[in-house]
């Protein structure tokens, strides 16, 4: 079944197969480890910050990130070799699987209410002194996401959000030079901690699964 998938990859625009994606997520392929090993089978990952929550992210966004990992437009010592080892159909299928998945939110200790409030202001209004627009403008009402291309932030782990913003700011993550990089440049460490804390604790009912 897996070999047939690879052979079909070239040029064939077949619809994504989430059931096949589930198998890849659970078992990996001959050349790549199972997604579940780091991201959990549901995509809910963990809160360490190393592994983003994938559950319910828009499939086209997940697929685009995987393609960026494969081409090293987005460079990760862990994800790039994995993405390179998957065929075009594999990564469409896996993206479709996670987009449709549901998974639990672990109980996490919340930070200060004041930090969350600051994050809420940045999310909804931005910061006029920095010429910064609110995150919600693109990421949707309180971070619900904006399929197909913009991921949800609601419920994403604060440590991972912090990591991502830091990676953009440092220039290490390069696959949004005109949008996320200028945004990250205008955030200081307290802003980053605040938006991360705010979004982690949002439980948004909007289902972004496509």
């Amino acid at each position: 079944m897996l070999a047939a998938g690879s052979a079909m990859a070239q040029g064939a625009a077949r619809p994504a197969d989430p059931k096949r994606g589930a198998v890849i997520a659970a078992q990996g392929t001959a050349t790549v480890p199972a997604c579940a090993q780091c991201h959990a089978f549901s995509g809910a990952s963990d809160s360490s910050g190393a592994f983003p929550r994938l559950t319910g992210q828009p499939a086209p966004y997940l697929a685009e990130q995987m393609r960026d990992f494969a081409s090293s437009k987005r460079d990760s010592a862990v994800m790039s070799p994995i993405a390179k080892g998957l065929s075009a159909s594999d990564l469409e299928d896996v993206s479709a699987y996670f987009a449709a998945a549901s998974g639990p939110f672990p109980l996490l200790a919340g930070p200060d209410a004041a930090i969350i409030k600051k994050g809420e202001t940045l999310a909804r209004e931005g910061d006029p002194a920095k010429g910064l627009q609110g995150c919600n403008n693109c990421h949707g009402p309180d971070g619900a996401g904006f399929p197909p291309r913009i991921p949800y932030l609601a419920g994403q782990y604060a440590e991972y959000i912090k990591l991502s913003l830091t990676m953009w700011k440092s220039g290490y993550r390069k696959n949004s030079p005109n949008v996320m990089k200028p945004v990250a440049d205008r955030l200081d460490d307290q802003d980053i901690a605040a938006v991360a804390a705010f979004y982690q604790q949002i439980r948004n009912s909007t289902d972004t699964a496509q």
């Binding site: 909804r124 209004e125 931005g126 910061d127 006029p128 010429g131 910064l132 627009q133 609110g134 919600n136 403008n137 693109c138 009402p141 005109n178 949008v179 200028p182």
Partner: protein, 589 residues
């Protein structure tokens, strides 16, 4: 009784685009500048953030960002034999208010006028003879040339970060740009917007017929940009809520995003919002302004004395304030004498709808305010009018700015206007229709003018301004001609049904046709036919300058804003380098 305040060096009436530029430039010289804005203060954050701003009903249909016409509106009639009535709803044009003015809710379409626009009368007479134009049309030369304005166009475009492709750099034609444009000194500050699907379809059709399509110059930016004032704009995300809305993203050039914050940081500048200026005060000679009288948000009246008064309140309000203040002689259409109120013009727009099969998807909702593809072969005098019986022209292009649910539902002719068949047609055609725009000149006439209404008053008891306007026959003939040419392009685009809708008279204020109101306080070389000299200084009251599209002798083919910006920098230059060194008339007759 008005409380008299401490005198300042400069007062600006209005803090929109022209008022904000004046504020920053003159405060930077060390002058004490007060900006009086009748509307509220507004900033990108928090006032323009989404989702609040993406409310079509509130902002587009109910005009939430526009001038409050309960307090102050215009009266309108087509001709002097009618009685003008107040515009109780803004429909035909949408004057702005609040800091930033109409440059907050504009689309960002940023075209220069043509070199011949500034010497229009001379050019037309030279090419076609003295008797070619309808006698009712009152075109004149502007008193300034394109070459004089070119550095100021450049400065304004670099302020905005305008995205585009130059077509003519110092005489050398550039591939990809408009080969017919007036020469510019350098490339645009940012590259053109991405071409949209509707733009690409237009390009293919236009190029099949031999026209040279080019990207619409856009002050909704293609990439992040930091302007010479140190302010940074972001990349437009094609959200489709541009005109009538404010940009949440810092991606549209507006005073808030390109210049006002710099003025506000300068302690020499003081912004007073919710302050309605009632009049400019003149001394007993009537030749010197002493300042302005205004009413603040609490209803208290103040007199603000100032050495220099800049009327920067948008074209229409500029003229009204001059009329109310007795600056310049009021225009009388019967005798043709007087200057304030003459040469009002507008814009002659029409459209062509191109309906496609369901295999062709347009996605009109993915649009920016100025992400169009256009051609210039029918603009202005770019084509030979000898046998055509009219002057002037229009630019043509696919410049759709949105696919919003309340406003955008094109249907082919014969579709019922309501009911289940209408609904089916809307669903069928929504994502498969390209609407082409024909955006044309507006020629001034003896009988189109502005004056004060004899009956109706504003909330402060002052006469409203009265607009008397109808399309000259010349412009309707022009519209028919270019619309027919555009239908041909629609057919070359592969449209299954192509429907042209040329502009027809009489002009109605109930259908939106741009907010490009121009003229009324025109600039020129002759004080008997212009209210301002070539530096936008009043001929009659030398310490008053009147900045805006009110200065236009006619309205050219293109959207006015780039030319308004250029004239503002041109006037700033004259004030800085000539007037402040030696106050008084800059042009002696």
């Amino acid at each position: 009784m008005a409380e008299r305040l401490k005198p300042v060096d400069v007062v600006t009436v209005g803090v929109g685009l022209t008022g904000a530029i004046m504020a920053k430039e003159l405060a930077a010289l060390g002058l004490k500048v007060v900006g009086l804005e009748r509307g509220p203060r507004r900033d990108t954050s928090p006032d323009f953030q989404s989702p609040t701003i993406h409310d079509e009903l509130r902002f587009s249909v109910r005009k939430a960002l526009m001038q409050d016409n309960v307090k102050e509106t215009l009266t309108f009639r087509n001709s002097a034999d009618q009685t003008a009535l107040p515009l109780r709803r803004w429909q035909g044009f949408l004057p702005g208010t609040g800091t930033g003015g109409a440059a907050v809710h504009w689309n960002g379409q940023t075209y220069r006028f043509q070199p011949v626009d500034f010497v229009y009368k001379t050019h037309i007479e030279k090419r076609y003879g003295k008797n070619f134009v309808d006698p009712d049309i009152t075109i004149q030369d502007w008193g300034v040339t394109y070459d004089e304005l070119e550095p100021h166009y450049d400065r304004f475009e670099y302020l905005c970060g305008t995205s585009g492709k130059a077509g003519n750099i110092n005489g050398k034609i550039q591939p990809g740009g408009n080969p017919l444009e007036g020469r510019r000194s350098r490339e645009y500050p940012t590259p053109p917007m991405k071409e949209t699907q509707y733009g690409a379809l237009f390009r293919k059709g236009a190029e099949k017929l031999g026209y040279k399509a080019y990207p619409q110059p856009a002050s909704t930016l293609s990439q992040p940009y930091t302007n010479p004032e140190g302010l940074t704009l972001q990349q437009c995300v094609f959200c489709g809520f541009c005109e009538r809305f404010a940009c949440e993203h810092y991606a549209k050039a507006s005073p808030q995003t390109v210049i006002l914050p710099v003025a506000l940081k300068n302690p020499n500048y003081e912004l007073r919002s919710n302050c309605q200026v009632l009049r400019v005060n003149l001394d007993s000679t009537g030749k010197k302004a002493t300042g302005v009288t205004y009413v603040d948000g609490a209803g208290r009246e103040f007199e603000q004395p100032a050495e220099l008064v800049l009327i920067t309140a948008f074209a229409l309000n500029n003229v009204r304030l001059m009329l109310l203040s007795g600056i310049g002689k009021r225009y009388d259409p019967r005798s043709g004498t007087g200057t304030v109120g003459r040469n009002y013009a507008y814009q002659t727009v029409s459209s062509v709808s191109v309906f496609y099969d369901e295999d062709t998807r347009i996605n009109p909702f993915m649009a920016s305010g100025s992400s169009g593809t256009v051609i210039d072969e029918f603009s202005g005098d770019n084509f030979d009018h000898t046998s055509l019986g009219f002057i002037g022209g229009a630019y043509v292009g696919a410049i759709m700015t949105n696919g919003r649910p309340i406003e955008f539902h094109p249907t082919p002719p014969g579709t019922p206007t309501w009911g289940p068949e209408w609904k089916k047609a809307v669903a069928r055609h929504y994502n498969h229709t390209v609407v082409l725009t024909v955006h044309g000149m507006s020629h001034p006439t003896r009988t189109n003018y502005l004056d004060l209404d004899p009956t109706y008053k504003d909330a402060w008891g002052l006469p409203l301004m009265r607009l008397t306007f109808d399309f000259p026959e010349n412009d309707l003939r022009m519209s028919k001609y270019v619309t027919d040419k555009t239908v041909e392009i629609g057919q070359a685009m592969g449209g299954k049904t192509v429907v042209g809708a040329p502009r027809k008279g009489p002009y109605t204020s109930t259908i939106y046709q741009t907010t490009h109101n121009t003229g009324g306080a025109v600039m020129g070389n002759d004080p008997t036919t212009s209210a301002l000299n070539k530096y936008l200084q009043s001929w009659d009251v030398p310490n008053v300058f009147v900045i805006g599209a009110s200065a236009f002798q006619h309205n050219g083919t293109y959207n006015p804003t780039d030319t308004v910006g250029a004239l503002t920098y041109w006037a700033v230059d004259a004030i800085k380098n000539q007037y402040l060194k030696s106050p008084g008339p800059l042009v002696r007759m």
